[in-house]
Symmetry: C3
Amino acid sequence: MMKIKSFASIIFLLISILFLSATLSLCHHDHDHNLRQCRERCEEKQQYQQRRCLRDCQEKYGGTGWESTEEEKERSHEYNSRWEEEQQQQQNNPYFFGEESFKEWFRTQDGYFSVAQKFSEKSELLRGFDNYRLSFFEANPRTFVVPSHIDAEYIFFVVKGRGTISLVSQETRETYNLERGDVIRVPAGTILNVINKDSKEKLQFAELAQSISIPGRIRDYIGMGGQNPESFFNSFRGEVLEAAFNTPRGQIQRLFGQQKKGMMFQASEEQIRSISKQASESHQKRKGRSSGPFNLLKKSPLHSNRYGKLFQIDGNDYSQLQDLDMSVTFTNITKGGMMAPFYNSKSTRFVMIVKGQGYFEMACVHYQRISAQLRPRTAFIIPAGHPTTIVASKNENLQMVVFGINVRDNQKNFLAGRENVMNQMSKEAKELGFNVQAKEVEEIFNQKESFFLPGPQQQQQKQQREEGEAHHVLLSSINDFAGF
Amino acid sequence: MMKIKSFASIIFLLISILFLSATLSLCHHDHDHNLRQCRERCEEKQQYQQRRCLRDCQEKYGGTGWESTEEEKERSHEYNSRWEEEQQQQQNNPYFFGEESFKEWFRTQDGYFSVAQKFSEKSELLRGFDNYRLSFFEANPRTFVVPSHIDAEYIFFVVKGRGTISLVSQETRETYNLERGDVIRVPAGTILNVINKDSKEKLQFAELAQSISIPGRIRDYIGMGGQNPESFFNSFRGEVLEAAFNTPRGQIQRLFGQQKKGMMFQASEEQIRSISKQASESHQKRKGRSSGPFNLLKKSPLHSNRYGKLFQIDGNDYSQLQDLDMSVTFTNITKGGMMAPFYNSKSTRFVMIVKGQGYFEMACVHYQRISAQLRPRTAFIIPAGHPTTIVASKNENLQMVVFGINVRDNQKNFLAGRENVMNQMSKEAKELGFNVQAKEVEEIFNQKESFFLPGPQQQQQKQQREEGEAHHVLLSSINDFAGF
Amino acid sequence: MMKIKSFASIIFLLISILFLSATLSLCHHDHDHNLRQCRERCEEKQQYQQRRCLRDCQEKYGGTGWESTEEEKERSHEYNSRWEEEQQQQQNNPYFFGEESFKEWFRTQDGYFSVAQKFSEKSELLRGFDNYRLSFFEANPRTFVVPSHIDAEYIFFVVKGRGTISLVSQETRETYNLERGDVIRVPAGTILNVINKDSKEKLQFAELAQSISIPGRIRDYIGMGGQNPESFFNSFRGEVLEAAFNTPRGQIQRLFGQQKKGMMFQASEEQIRSISKQASESHQKRKGRSSGPFNLLKKSPLHSNRYGKLFQIDGNDYSQLQDLDMSVTFTNITKGGMMAPFYNSKSTRFVMIVKGQGYFEMACVHYQRISAQLRPRTAFIIPAGHPTTIVASKNENLQMVVFGINVRDNQKNFLAGRENVMNQMSKEAKELGFNVQAKEVEEIFNQKESFFLPGPQQQQQKQQREEGEAHHVLLSSINDFAGF
């Protein structure tokens, strides 16, 4: 009986933890117990009073509101340090995926494939996105990746390097060269064969998968291989394989027993040359709709100024994105710059950081501020409608690959800068909505720059400098992707 | 240890309640313990024997079956009273949303916005509809609603009044006048600006939202405003706003600090005139597909007789409904009338009561009868396939706005009245299916009236009166919507 | 207090069982405790090491790996016996639906309708397929089934017999004759009337439903009938029915009280003749898109050799499958034959066994082998991407009806036989992937037969026989469907 009791206690604790964590993990990152208590008292109020109430709690116990202005100013040049204490809170931020959220599905001395956790594991709130999974891939020079097929649609963005990719099905094999900026769709179930054909540079992909089999699950299946990686053929019983291959067991065992090098390993120069040679030949033979890559960076940028550049494609540019209703964006925010606050009207965005440092801020349920420090190999989600801004560090450009879903009829609305949605509001709406003269609104919302702006640190310096002075902030070349 | 035990007991009780309520809440409204026990004994039987068994339980313990005929007749003129005891059971009816199921997201002295609870909160059974939310909106004369955008597609039906609506995005502002009967789609993420331009009458909407961001969640985001309603700009840190607006902190704080009037408030006559003037000007400028309103009541009714009228539009009438695969229906059942029992072959219907009194009955799982008394600001769901009837009270017309989803190829099949699906059955099917002569079936199914019929109370009176006598049941004008 | 404690203990046990069963049921069929422990130790490893680790566990404790070759050979002629011990494990195999997974929704002395359990009840893993339900239907000669409508789209495949089907809605009645091999779609909400018009043979359907109302739920609604089957009209209150039918209560009660024969019963020869006569007349009157049946077996087979035949249609052949994005396949594997290992690139398949014996093997998560013995009235799921093979017993042909979903752009890739996807791989990929000479790979993968191959038992005999010898394995006629 005593045993049952203590077993019971353990179960209680487990259940309690489950309940509590479910309650806490949605869009909050509670600073401490007082803040939590304060917020709980707000829950009974009407929505808009609730916001005020929650805001008051934040100011009183959260320590990052308007009240702390002076202190903030001091800290503004060292935002990196202020983030440290928030690091542990990022785990409770369901929209941010830090490095610890990515799990290595494989790693050898020649590369890795690292997949973000399932969204609903992060937070029940994100269950609706469970069909999507983010991943980073990297292969050393002259590396061969053992072919496999995946039960998901895949979009690759080539962050860096020069590779060759073969898409194989029973009826066709298409081989393409890949270079920085290429976007390619790998249809579900296609046997995928990737090599890094360069002899010096790493090959890096940022990837989005959309599961099509068991919803929310993504698996790869390796037919080649043997002991390491293990072939799925080993899942069948010996007598079944004997029959399938009409071959004695010993010979089959020999075939599936030789490969012991792991998922990625160096290939000879000759093998690399031979495979990459097929890419150009393959180009001639293709017919019907092209399934080859599309280079995003060769398109002219959608937005571009000294503070940043944004390139974007969707199904109108690259037909392979049409049925997935997706877009792919590459954004480079110049060091010290920021993207003007914005929201997407319909599209949800998966943002993967590939270079640099910075942070994002997002207005969430009850206007809780969601924010996190950004580093290469981290990612975050911007759900449709959520006002968001992204800021680069003052030392390094911030580069991101953004996968958009539900992009049909999406409208990106900017909330600051010269071109912003507030300018479309009528004079009366401005006056009534803000309870001030329209002029006062326009003064603030009508700025010189659009889309990309000088960021928090830069702003101060800029205000001190004379206008017209030669600017030191040079647009860093797209070409300078350093490794993650 | 004792504390853990008592804490344990509480957890037990909570869990037990959760389990039990989940079990009980699906489509049952159990009258008492005996009835429940009786039903439990049926669970082990095959489906059709189960139905018979459950029916027997209902008759024995439920008190509303055929057996109670005499008693029922007596009560038939006072159905209001009989409903009283069922009031508390309505909470266990997962298809009905009483006034307590609507939560006010905001209310000021000048109006309110009231949203039905999430469907899965009502019942796990309805989780599949979680992307939809129903709401009622009302604004006093000359009232301005602070502009906001919502992460959901919205369909508004104008129940009453005269308003002006502006749909604003970064690239366009469209302003339209609204009047009773207008249907308008507000695309997700559009900044919405509504005023009641009338100086005397309230403006009322019945609304359906379809969430597009976090599935099942709907939020509005207010960029204007300041302290009340609070602007989402306050979610960003001070230094970020300074940079975004290139403006000193003090000035920004001033802008976002003036508005303290709440979400809705009176505007001056001049402001109202100026905004509504833009509506007519806007009409000239529009190009491409129209995103303006469509007046449902100006279309000729689909069904109409002295007992009721039904107006309906879908994507073929109003292109804005096409991609949503939705229809909007306005139904007016004359006092004392009823809609003939029917079911929709594919479409599920969300019914919102906007005027009058009455009740609905629906055949549900195991043929449990689902029913509830209807009042303004209540709503119910009719899932596809479910046979249903709706009855108006004898004192007042019953008016409903019905949003239909999955309407493509939907067929509404009536189960009584002159035009009904039974008439399409072959003679042999009738004889075999009912085990009587086909004539006997036809006698009952072939009636004079179609679609709308005299209701329960009226029927009796009518049988007593001579045919041809002038009828006292006048079709109440569509124009007499009184306030909720 | 003591009572609360023991109640508590029961709740604990229930919860523990829930948790444990959820954990265990996913894709495992653990042989014993040692195997489970061994596997648990693998959980902490990286994915590919995990696979090796899990494989080792299987070999050491599972008893069906390569090591047991000699023993296996002995057993190869009696695979039936080896399955016995795995029978109890099939319940933990979430992809297989044995006879116990089908529940009879109704059965009379003249037939039955048997529906597979909801997928998420079988395993949480399958929740994404909850909108689909599999069912078997059988009616004796000259049997009438009481008409009903269902809140789901239905696809029927006629396994055996000759019937007549009427599809009734308010606006139309279409009547068709059905024969073996016919595929017909029954749109949701259509009132369905089926008879077996043959005087000797049973009528059998294999069916797939896609729910359209409450997601994951399928219900039928019987308007005719009375006491048994009970009519849904009995769900409405007496006074409502009196009004709806404008008929005194007694007469209504009489109509809905005569039918006491159950859901299926014998009809007279004259009634059968009269209904089936309408089928031919109906053919003349149809206009617009055909909603009649399409005979799958009259199309030429997609694959065919002495070891098997496969017939398949999709929306291109039968327009009624277009919007459902489905295919229907009939597969006959000759006794002693097997289908070459394969996977579908995008489509998930629901396989229903209608005749014969055999087994399937499938490579699942972590390359666990999923397998089960197949018998008539069992079913299994092959999710997209999963390598699978199906083997017929040596005594009987194995016949299956396969419903495919997500079939657009699906590619079936074979993994053995003359036409297989490995042949499309480049020489270099083969050499690197297997770490052997390309020749050695090609020797094994390039075989004489395609798609259908001699199975495990047959293979051995064949190797002993001379090529060119007359084969005793005759292609069993498609016509010899025996009853389930």
